[in-house]
Amino acid sequence: MKSLEPNLTPHSPNPADAAIVPQPAAKFNLRSLMQGDLGFIPVILTLALITIYFQITTSGVFLEARNLSNLTQQIVTIAILSVAAVLVLLLGEIDLSLAAVAYACSAIMATVSVYQGWNAGWAILAALVAGALIGLINGFFVAVLRVPSFIVTLAGSIGYAGLLLVVMGAQTTLVVRDPFIRALAPTYLPAGWGWGLPLLCLGLYALGVWYDQKRRSQANLPVKHPTQLVLQLLGATAVVVVLIFLFQSYQGVPQAVMIALGLVVIAWLILRKTTFGRHLYAVGGNAEAARRAGINVVQMKLIVFMSASMLAALAGVMMTSRSTAVATQISSTLLLNAIAAAVIGGVSLFGGKGSVWAVILGALVIGSLDNGLDLLNQDQGVKNMVQGGVLLLAVTADAVVRRAGFAKGKK
């Protein structure tokens, strides 16, 4: 990378006064906020509206620490499954087998744990390996044989639901006895971990932002306005501190929530900071261009489908831990909720657009509706109708924004 074409660079001592008008400090306004790391404002407003509505109608129960702690633990499975959905959606594909994979893999874990007496670590590993194999099958049909992922994973979802029944045998539920597996989801972290881990992450984030700014200004590139950076960091810190206070005022930070957040952060780092992530977005944006740039599209798809199925297996493990049992009846809303969480958070169904942070906001919207309607003693029918409506709105917004973007891009 160091030796850029020698005959191209001779007379450019200061790159910043180049073709691009230099902006020593980028303008700081609402627009830059919307385009930057805070592009989620519409979803946050939606979430705020939902919160206010339920806070009033449940006369204050909704925002109680106990309920919020509950709510966040309710959405862990959806959130992890949704991270998987995001990876696949970014590629411009879809995976409709995620829920079935989660159930089938957790059934495998439960079976080897209960009947074979495997210890928790091996049992969970078995679930993850099963997930990887299933992902390999999905990926093989999609990437190598080029069958539309919609069909492959739809067929897969039926097949893996069948696998679930085969693994479970005659029983409809299998209760897991292993104490480690049972403790995964319902455990609360001790205060030291609960405060320490998130604050450490925040510190590293701040350090990263500062280092990045330093390198950019050394390289004479436009840097963000300090005010914006400070606000950004303060905002993030405020959200984290308030959340931890809430958790601590009940029983502490739930371990399951921390695991889900950790997965989101890892996925975000991989997507934004590594070549693999960049190439994933490129394949989702224009697979042909990516192929011509030397990216191995087939391998990329295989890896993504495998990762997605492994994440689904992990979601299944967390789900089993929370309910202490595996059931043969696959939740009818789980898959759509996972995909909806991604789309509500702004991940495009058409590939290449969106951030994995979408998962948290989307899962919160869905979880809040679920939780709030429960508090109001609404039955499943009403919940389904409301959630269907919200999903439709989110997808419509995606389509409309995409059209607007194209109109702008073409001219």
Binding site: I20, N286, A289, A290, A293
Partner: protein, 270 residues
């Protein structure tokens, strides 16, 4: 090899001994019963822009695809700087320093200019020595600005997604992308098609920049106005043959049109 003037289809008064950057000799290619190219010679020199013109089906695209490695010719030989080379795939062609910008540009609309320019060859740095290789955005952004500056390409920001750029800007980004690979020859397929006046000017300006940089440039175009503005020589193809070569400065669009349509039959040399 050194004596280009012996080429029957070339009427350019070459300096004796000057070696073309890229030369194709006696290239033939047929698809089934259709003879797409028959015994075509072609050459382009350093710091030269050659316009490749001809009616639809004249064989321009086939010829360019032969150079870019998309097609393998049935007969004939290709040489770079006088050295015979084998081009049997687009990768071969890229490795030999031949870059092609196709009409569809092959840009990822969802990525910004920097990401597009460096796609497939990103710069890295390590967080801790030895592991955690992450993208070096600063390095890539800096080099992007340098390249765009040397090519005199003007865009609002290197961090804006390519989807938000105009057609001319997108074309320029596609060309700049090839420049990062330090090519010897750049092939442009209809670079000004479907562009407005100002955008066309931007792209033509870019082509002249490439020439200034000493690159050999081949431009396929239907637009004779644009061809006359940037090229040094114009090669006319007709029915799979190279029938005429003009010095751009010593001819008129009317004569070129005549050659394209076959009206100037008495002047056909091949």
């Amino acid at each position: 090899m050194a004596n280009i003037t012996s080429s029957p289809t070339s009427d350019r008064p070459f300096v004796k001994g000057q070696t073309p950057r890229l030369q194709l000799k006696n290239i033939s290619k047929s698809f089934g019963g259709v003879q797409a190219l028959s015994h075509v010679d072609f050459e382009v020199f350093d710091g030269e822009v050659v316009g490749l013109v001809g009616d639809n089906g004249a064989g321009k695209s086939t010829l360019v695809k032969t150079m870019s490695g998309a097609y393998t010719p049935d007969t004939g030989e290709i040489s770079i700087d006088g050295q015979p080379v084998a081009i049997s795939s687009p990768q071969d062609s890229t490795r030999l320093g031949i870059e092609t910008v196709y009409q569809d540009l092959a840009l990822c609309d969802n990525l910004d200019v920097v990401a597009n320019l460096w796609l497939g060859r990103e710069a890295h740095r390590t967080l801790f020595p030895g592991f955690f290789r992450i993208l070096d955005e600063t390095e890539m952004e800096q080099k992007t600005i340098e390249v765009l500056k040397t090519l005199d390409v003007k865009i609002p920001s290197v961090r804006s997604p390519v989807a938000s750029l105009s057609g001319g800007q997108r074309q320029c980004i596609a060309v700049a992308k090839t420049i990062l690979r330090q090519p010897k020859v750049v092939l442009l397929d209809e670079p000004t098609a479907a562009l407005g006046v100002a955008q066309t000017r931007q792209v033509l300006n870019l082509i002249l920049r490439l020439k200034e940089r000493g690159l050999a440039v081949v431009v396929i175009s239907h637009n004779l106005h644009d061809v006359f503005e940037v090229t040094d020589r114009i090669v006319v193809m007709r029915l799979g043959k190279r029938i005429r070569t003009f010095e751009t400065s010593q001819t008129t669009p009317e004569r070129v049109v005549g050659a394209i349509t076959g009206a100037e039959t008495e002047e056909i040399e091949a």
